[in-house]
Amino acid sequence: MSAGSDLVRRSAADLADALASGETTSVELTRACLDRIAQVDGAVHAFLHVDAEGALAQAAASDARRAAGRPASALDGVPIAVKDVLATEGLPTTCGSRILEGWVPPYDATVVARLRAAGLPILGKTNMDEFAMGSSTEHSAYGPTHNPWDLDRIPGGSGGGSSAAVAAFEAPLAIGTDTGGSIRQPGAVTGTVGVKPTYGGVSRYGLVALANSLDQAGPVTRTVLDAALLHEVIGGHDPKDSTSIDAPLPALVEAARQGAAADLSGVRVGVVRELGGEGYQAGVQQRFDEAVQLLVGAGAEVVEVSCPSFVHALAAYYLIMPSEASSNLARFDAMRYGLRVLPETIDNPSAEEVMRATRDAGFGDEAKRRIILGTYALSSGYYEAYYGQAQKVRTLISRDFEAAFGQADVLVSPTAPTTAFPIGEKLDDPLAMYLNDIATIPANLAGVPGVSVPAGLAPEDGLPVGFQVLAPALADDRLYRVGAALEALLEKEWGRPLLGLDKLDHRIPEVTR
């Protein structure tokens, strides 16, 4: 095994130590990731854009800071991949849509600015469902991403590019965004860790909005500790986002380190009755139940909690999200940025005619479905029955969380009802696709944080299963404590991490340059 493939399999925390000790350099590490991308991304297609030159320049600058004894952060020099929904100055940002093909933003999203300030070289931009609308990354206008565990299967969505990049060892770290599960569900089906922070915990400035009241950016990693390290880099108050919470982040890295000791004495864990059982794949339920028993063995007190309004969460979400999306996507009007299509059949077309032609050509099926659904739900005559009622159900869901967090410190469930399904299986069945998010959506509606941690492989298909932990708003540290404990307990059982380069390499065909 070459030095490069040895480097790419290591965790970000481990790489940070290797950089600090002088064992490796950021240039060497970044080159190893770029080599790995060149080797496997033809088959995986996690990236829409790779910035080799920029990443290597940032890596060289990082090495210079290290040499001068002034690293910008613990993760200075550790490369990262960024979901293509975050604005990156000088790098294309398409949101997986034709309507933004070739757009190069003139500014950085706050998350991106913080990554740059902390010295993390940006390898490139990752694939996603168009405007983050989907659970499979098949709705990308630039072709699907393939799950490294089985290239014929989906890597989850909308952030399938970020999860696949991390799972295929193309990057040690990535950024995702989660509106209804787009960080956690891809984490579950690729055997990686994904965290949706508390709403308002990470700035949305420069994050192209799907649904403002639900969107939240967060870490995509292979270990819980790596997620905590990254979360501390990107999190915290941002005056440029009026919904940003003006309070210090809890001590996340400390919580992850504490959790790794796998002592959960005094921690109350609530199993959500409505998020499991019927509709959940047998092997998913089995791995979840086993993981709960491991938590009990580590001293946790497990109780069953009921959140009766969660059964309405999917319906509320599929009214609120498209309503916000239809309003947000109105900005793609062919006037200030992005695609402009002139209708062929009209001489001297009006702005409105240009808008219609552009939006037809620029948006894919799922974007059109959601824009029309949102337009319907917001139209007079239906507003109260749909959007208004969905907002009331949102209140009921928050109340269910409040009651449940009175009985338990964290809530747990399977992250997704099934393992990764074959590409194409649900592409033209929107409802079946939406059901993937049934366990992740309540957290977005209530604004509470959640993590998906790998829980093993489903016995029937050998594919990864995710274990979800939810905590009260602003108590993101609890995710890391319980998540790291479960990770430590499982890895002790397995004798190794779930993801291994040796296990994946025979599944990803070698791509010769």
Binding site: P106, S242, L314, L339, F363, R369, Q391, R394, S398, P430
Partner: protein, 99 residues
């Protein structure tokens, strides 16, 4: 049970400024009906006196200090524009022939 007709989808697409072809209307209208049916149960949740939540974090009227800050230059702001003229966005005509 809410049904959404092909004509209704065409009208909504019109409101949303999307030119849908006949084939797209045939494809999308039945799918939208299925989705609407699946969310219709929401109307039956007894929530009459429950206050609506628009936003998980109850923040209102967040202002920054009224101090000048650097912002994008005209060149930067226009850098992604399909067309520009004299440091402005150039757009197709906005009035009809008869107006």
């Amino acid at each position: 049970m809410p049904e959404i007709s092909r004509d209704e989808v065409a009208h909504l697409a019109d409101l949303a400024r999307i030119e849908l072809s006949d084939a797209e209307l045939d494809h999308l209208a039945p799918q939208l009906s299925v989705i609407l049916e699946s969310v219709a149960s929401i109307a039956e949740v007894a929530a009459g006196d429950i206050p609506p939540t628009s936003h998980a974090v109850p923040l209102t009227n967040v202002f920054r200090a009224d101090e000048p800050e650097p912002c994008l230059t005209a060149e930067q702001a226009l850098s992604g524009a399909p067309a520009s003229e004299q440091q402005r966005f150039a757009v197709p005509r906005i009035l009809g022939d008869e107006q």
